[in-house]
């Protein structure tokens, strides 16, 4: 047996005892070969990410110059690495081919003052190191994060970034040439929701949509303002829509589901339906959080974070996730969470995980998305985690 465990037997605990013993050790004979010397090595990631990995974006609200994204393995409950991503960070954008990580970032020459530089940094997804930087106009919207602040067109060709100076526009970056293409003005309309290889819409303050189609150079081919699709004054839809095929699913502050169905002809609102029954509304059930919707596309399920509270609690986290069948428009499951959640994400594989996090906590929770069973917590994945992205 080792003299170390002997030491513990002889001197359980006590600092001084251990000390007295340790000073004698060099003089004692030791069995077995010593441990080999080690070089300082560097980890890299496998070429294909696991479907159970997730990126957690962190705006670091108490220290905004230090935004970051942290990559977590949901099965092992470990952190795989991180990116440092600058001031007032929103989040990473992942192309379907996973050959790069796109990160719209802002920096000041003196941290919080001096000259502002906005860039899209391209990171190597295996080395998590910068490969290239694309300069863009210093107009990126400084907002509390939402996944709709930046997105790729369906063919991954063009990166779209919402600007607010407070003039509203969308920056277009060509991912092939890795160059800034230009800006598309979207007066009165915000955010970007892709609807095809060359099209997206923004949501306008009056409840209409601005439907934009691009040409193959990334410039606007057509811009069309739709009719008013919802009442942005009385019952606005939250920004955090989720896409399933050719439908963007939104829900309103009062719990009405709005399917924005799009074709090459444009966007129309499909049949609306309520998340909450009259009794549930009477009990004050409502949606709340930041990324409070998630879709499991294989089964057409909508996961919704809910809580009980008055009007104006639409940003409050919830301790329940209600699961709806998008076809039958019925609730099929209630998941009771261990911890409050403001954001959720469901993986799209055959045995999906449900990830939850909350601005007010640095921890990530992992659940079985089918049974709702709590699996594990990953501590310290950020200071104020905002929303999650699948790598």
């Amino acid at each position: 047996m080792s003299s170390g465990s002997l030491a513990r037997r002889l001197f359980p605990g006590g600092h001084l005892a251990a000390f007295a013993f340790a000073t004698l050790l060099p003089c004692m004979a030791v069995a077995g070969p010593p441990l080999a010397n080690e070089a300082a090595t560097l980890q890299t990631l496998p070429s294909q990410p696991s479907p159970h990995w997730v990126w957690v974006n962190d705006i670091a609200f108490f220290n905004m110059p230090d935004g970051r994204a942290t990559l977590v393995d949901g099965d092992k409950g470990t952190v795989l690495g991180m990116l440092s991503t600058g001031y007032g960070y929103v989040g990473v954008v992942i192309p379907k081919d996973r050959q790069a990580i796109y990160s719209p970032e802002s920096y000041y020459s003196r941290g919080t003052r001096g000259v502002r530089a906005d860039v899209v940094t391209l990171y190597d997804p295996r080395r998590l190191s910068p490969m290239q930087e694309v300069a863009i106009p210093p107009k990126r919207a400084a907002i509390l994060s939402t996944s709709s602040a930046a997105a790729l067109t369906d063919d991954d060709r063009f990166l779209l970034i919402y600007n607010f100076t407070p003039a509203q526009s969308v920056t277009v970056v060509d991912t092939r040439s890795r160059k800034f293409v230009g800006e598309i003005n979207t007066p009165g309309c915000a955010l970007v929701y892709p609807t095809g290889p060359r099209s997206f819409f923004s949501i306008c303050g009056d409840g209409a949509l601005l439907e934009v189609s691009l040409d193959d150079t990334g410039h606007a081919a057509s811009i069309r303002r739709s009719a008013k699709l919802f009442d942005s004054q009385k019952d606005p839809v939250a920004e955090g829509g989720v896409r399933v095929g050719n439908t963007w699913w939104f829900t309103s502050f009062n719990g009405m589901v709005y399917p924005f169905e799009f074709t090459s002809q444009g966007v129309t609102v499909g049949q609306r339906w309520p998340l909450f029954s009259a009794p549930e509304q009477a009990q004050g059930w409502r949606t709340g959080g930041l990324q409070y919707l998630a879709a499991y596309r294989r089964s057409g399920l909508l996961y919704v974070v809910v809580h009980q509270g008055p009007l104006a609690t639409h940003k409050d986290p919830g301790k329940q996730v209600w699961v709806y069948d998008l076809k039958s428009q019925r609730r099929v499951q209630r998941i009771a969470l261990r911890h409050e959640a403001g954001s959720i994400l469901v993986t799209q594989d055959a045995s999906p995980l449900l990830f939850t996090c909350f601005l007010g906590s640095g921890a990530l929770q992992v659940y079985d998305a089918r049974t709702g069973r709590y699996l594990r917590t990953v501590e310290s994945v950020g200071q104020t985690p905002t929303f999650m992205v699948s790598p």
Partner: protein, 173 residues
Amino acid sequence: MKLLDSLCERSARQLARRLSRRSVLGNLGAMLVGASLVPLLPVARGAQPHRSSAEPKADPGDPTQCDYWRYCAIDGFLCSCCGGSQHSCPPGTEPSRITWIGTCHNPGDGRDYIVSYNDCCGKSSCGRCLCNRNENDSPLYVPFRSNDYDWCAGSQSGIPYNCSISRIIGVAK
């Protein structure tokens, strides 16, 4: 709320015109018309009396507390805890040149006031007295009713955000 909206509409339009003249940026006027159509909302959290204010006053409550009436839709660090006050910025920061407009109920005189939420800009997060209340907060696509924007955008200092103030700019008659 329908009745109320119509009740408020007239004064809201007047406010909108007043604000659009004040606005430093060309394209703000139109947006502010929308922004100013604010239904009068309850200020339940704001109405809670603060321990320190036993007597009803004209401006009751503690500006370093989140439940102060005029913070009814603030989202950030209270400048009153950061070297400023409810309507002044801490030393070395710059009041944002654009703001968003809300309506809060003052339990002291029973009036509803139009308040302007300015951010103070040019230093890192103050980090004290974080307060988030969302009465009448709207999604990001209604910018001038949304507290999720960093209103330092458009200021000389740029987007670095230090803290938030809430100043009275009118009575919602």
